[in-house]
C-alpha cells in the first residue's frame, strides 16, 4: 500500500489536465446540494412545511406547488427540503456513534490478539448476525420512537463492519516495518495503537462509512415509513412516503416526491463512497 502510494506520488504531473468528471465529483456535488438544502431550508422552501390548507389538498404539480401538495394541503417541495434535515442529522449521529466504537474494538482486537481478540470478534459476529431493521424496530418499540432512539437503534447494528475492517487492517500492520520501528523507539501500548495504527486505519474507515451511508439512509427511511422514526408533523421522507402510499394510485406525486429524495440522497452517498474508495484505497487503483 505504502509503496504504491509513493510510486503514484512520484509520477511527475503531466501538465494541466482537463478536470475529469469522476464519481467522487458527482457524488460530492450531490451531497453538497443535500447539505445546503438542509442548512438553508428556511430560505429555499417556498412555503411553511407544516402549514395546512384544506382547500389545496392533493393538488398535482403546478407552477405554484412544484411537486404538488399532500393530503393536508402542505407544499411537498417545502416538506422534501425540510425532510433533508432529520435524515442528515440521523446519518451524522449514526456515524458519530459507530465509527469510534468500531475502530476501538477492531484495533484493540487486532493489536492485543489472544483471548481479547476472540471475545471481541465473537461479540462483533453476534451483532453482525442481527437483522438491522428488525432489531431497530424492537429497540424503538422499547425506547419509544424519535430521532435519537432511531439513530441509537441503527447504530447498534451498524458498527460491526467497521470493527472487522479495523481489525483486518491492524493485523496486516502488526508485522509491518513501521510498527517495528516505532517499537524500537520504545513506543507501545495505547500510544502505538492510537498514535500510529489509528491514522493508518482511518482512510479505510472513511471509505467504508461513505459506502454504508446509502444503506443507512434507506434503513432510516424504512424506520420512518413504519412510523418508528421522527414523529409527525415533522417532515421526514420515510413517513411522507407512508402517507403518500395511501393515495398512490390516484395522486402518485405525494409518494414520489419523498421517494425521489431518498433515491437522490442514497445515490449521492454511494457515488461519494465509490469515488473515495478509488481515491484513498490504492489496492483498487488502476
Amino acid at each position: 500500500m505504502t509503496q504504491n502510494l509513493t510510486e503514484l506520488e512520484s509520477v511527475p504531473p503531466r501538465g494541466r489536465q482537463r478536470p475529469r468528471v469522476t464519481s467522487l465529483a458527482i457524488g460530492g456535488t450531490l451531497v453538497a446540494v443535500l447539505v445546503l438544502a438542509a442548512l438553508l431550508a428556511p430560505l429555499l422552501a417556498p412555503f411553511d412545511p407544516n402549514a395546512q390548507l384544506m382547500t389545496a389538498r392533493l393538488l398535482p404539480p403546478s407552477s405554484a406547488h412544484w411537486l404538488g401538495t399532500d393530503g393536508f394541503g402542505r407544499d411537498l417541495l417545502s416538506r422534501v427540503i425540510y425532510g433533508a434535515r432529520p435524515t442528515l442529522l440521523l446519518v451524522a449521529l449514526i456515524l458519530v456513534l459507530t465509527i469510534p466504537v468500531g475502530m476501538l474494538i477492531g484495533i484493540c482486537a487486532g493489536y492485543l490478539g489472544g483471548w481479547t481478540e476472540r471475545v471481541l470478534m465473537r461479540i462483533t459476529d453476534i451483532f453482525l448476525s442481527l437483522p438491522n431493521l428488525v432489531i431497530a424496530l424492537a429497540l424503538v418499540a422499547m425506547l419509544g420512537p424519535g430521532l435519537m432512539n432511531g439513530a441509537l437503534a441503527l447504530a447498534l447494528t451498524s458498527w460491526p463492519p467497521f470493527a472487522r475492517q479495523a481489525r483486518a487492517e491492524t493485523l496486516a500492520l502488526r508485522r509491518s516495518d513501521y510498527l517495528a520501528a516505532a517499537r524500537m523507539q520504545g513506543i507501545n501500548g495505547l500510544r502505538l495503537m492510537f498514535g500510529h495504527i489509528l491514522p493508518l486505519c482511518m482512510p479505510g474507515a472513511v471509505v467504508r462509512a461513505a459506502l454504508s451511508l446509502g444503506g443507512i439512509i434507506l434503513s432510516a427511511a424504512g424506520l420512518g415509513f413504519l412510523g418508528m422514526g421522527v414523529q409527525p408533523p415533522t417532515a421526514e421522507w420515510g413517513s411522507m412516503v407512508a402517507e403518500g402510499s395511501k393515495v398512490i394510485f390516484d395522486q402518485w406525486w405525494v409518494a414520489a416526491a419523498p421517494g425521489g429524495a431518498i433515491l437522490f440522497a442514497s445515490l449521492a452517498f454511494n457515488l461519494t463512497g465509490d469515488g473515495l474508495r478509488d481515491r484513498l484505497d490504492t489496492r483498487h487503483a488502476n
Partner: protein, 282 residues
C-alpha cells in the same frame, strides 16, 4: 548506568531457537563497548536476529536463552515489557533497512522525529521543536523547519535514511544498532550515509553495531568485525586486517567482491565442504 568504560553489551552463550527447536543462533558470546563493531555474514546467518534480541524485540515464537545478556547495564533476560520501553529509543536505538517501510506514511517527519523525545525526555513544546530542528540539521538535511511538515513519501531514500537516523539519535542513546542501513540506497549514497553514521557515533561517543554484508564498507568505517555463519561467530578480527584475514570463510568473503582488478575473471565461490571441515577441526 554504565560508566564511561564499562561494556554496553555483554552476551555470553546467547542462543536463539525457533518454536520447532531448530537452532538459529548458536551460543555466541561477545562484548561491545563504545566502539564501532560490524557484524557481517551471508543472509540467514542470524545477524538480524542477534540485533533484535538486543532490543528485546524477538518474535514471541522464538526462544532466547543465554548465560548472561547485559544491555546498557541491565539484565535483559529479566526485563519486563514495561522496563524495556525506556531503554528502547532512550538507551538503545536501531536504524532499519528501508526508510520507505519504516517511516509511518500518515505522520509528518517532524512528528515522527519528535516522538522519542516526548517519550524519553520531559521538554516543553518549543524545546522539542528546537531539538528536532537541530537534529535534522545535524544529519545533513536541508531546511529542517520546512522538512518537519513533510510526509515520508515526499522524501528520497537517502533523505529518509537520514530522518531514520535523526529519530534514532534524538533521545541521545548510548548504543546504535544499524541493520543494513544502506542496502536500500544507491552506491554514492551509501558512503555518505555510513560516513554520517560514523561521524555522529564518534561525536556522541556511542557504541555502534553495524550489520552489513558489504565488507568494503565495514573495513572503512568500523574498528572490529565479527563474522557470522549459520548462527555462529566464526571469526573476529580488527577491521583493518580484513585484507589479510586468515580464516578461510572470511578470506572468501573478502576476495569474492567484484572489482576492477578481477574484471573478466570468475570470482571465487565459497567452498562449503572445506568450511565445514575447518569448523569441525576447531
Amino acid at each position: 548506568m554504565p560508566t564511561e568504560n564499562s561494556p554496553l553489551i555483554v552476551a555470553d552463550r546467547l542462543r536463539i531457537a525457533s518454536a520447532s527447536g531448530a537452532t538459529l543462533v548458536n551460543n555466541i558470546s561477545f562484548t561491545l563497548g563504545r566502539e564501532r563493531v560490524a557484524l557481517v555474514g551471508e543472509s540467514g546467518s542470524g545477524k538480524s536476529l542477534t540485533a533484535r534480541s538486543l532490543m528485546g524485540l524477538l518474535s514471541p515464537s522464538l526462544r532466547l536463552n543465554a548465560q548472561t545478556l547485559n544491555v546498557v547495564g541491565e539484565d535483559a533476560l529479566a526485563l519486563s515489557e514495561g522496563q524495556w520501553a525506556p531503554l528502547r529509543g532512550g538507551q538503545l536505538a536501531m536504524v532499519m533497512q528501508d526508510p520507505k517501510y519504516a517511516l509511518n506514511p500518515m505522520r509528518t517527519i517532524g512528528w515522527q522525529v519528535a516522538e522519542p523525545l516526548k517519550l524519553h525526555a520531559s521538554l516543553s513544546r518549543a524545546e522539542i521543536k528546537e531539538k528536532v530542528c537541530e537534529m535534522l540539521d545535524a544529519v545533513g538535511l536541508p531546511q529542517p523547519s520546512q522538512l518537519m511538515s513533510r510526509y515520508p513519501h515526499q522524501l528520497s531514500g537517502g533523505m529518509g535514511q537520514r530522518v531514520m537516523l535523526a529519530i534514532a539519535l534524538i533521545a541521545d542513546p548510548q548504543l546504535l544498532i544499524a541493520d543494513e542501513p544502506t542496502s536500500a540506497l544507491d552506491h554514492a549514497m551509501r558512503d555518505q550515509v555510513l560516513a554520517l553514521i560514523r561521524r555522529m557515533v564518534e561525536q556522541r561517543n556511542m557504541g555502534l553495531l553495524l550489520i552489513s554484508h558489504d565488507l568494503q564498507q565495514v573495513a572503512e568505517h568500523c574498528e572490529r568485525v565479527m563474522v557470522m555463519y549459520q548462527g555462529e561467530i566464526l571469526d573476529r578480527l580488527p577491521a583493518a586486517d580484513l585484507p589479510r584475514a586468515t580464516h578461510p570463510y572470511t578470506r572468501t568473503l573478502w576476495s569474492c567482491r567484484p572489482s576492477l582488478a578481477t574484471k573478466g575473471q570468475p570470482l571465487p565461490v565459497l567452498d562449503r565442504a572445506a568450511l565445514e571441515a575447518h569448523r569441525e577441526h576447531h
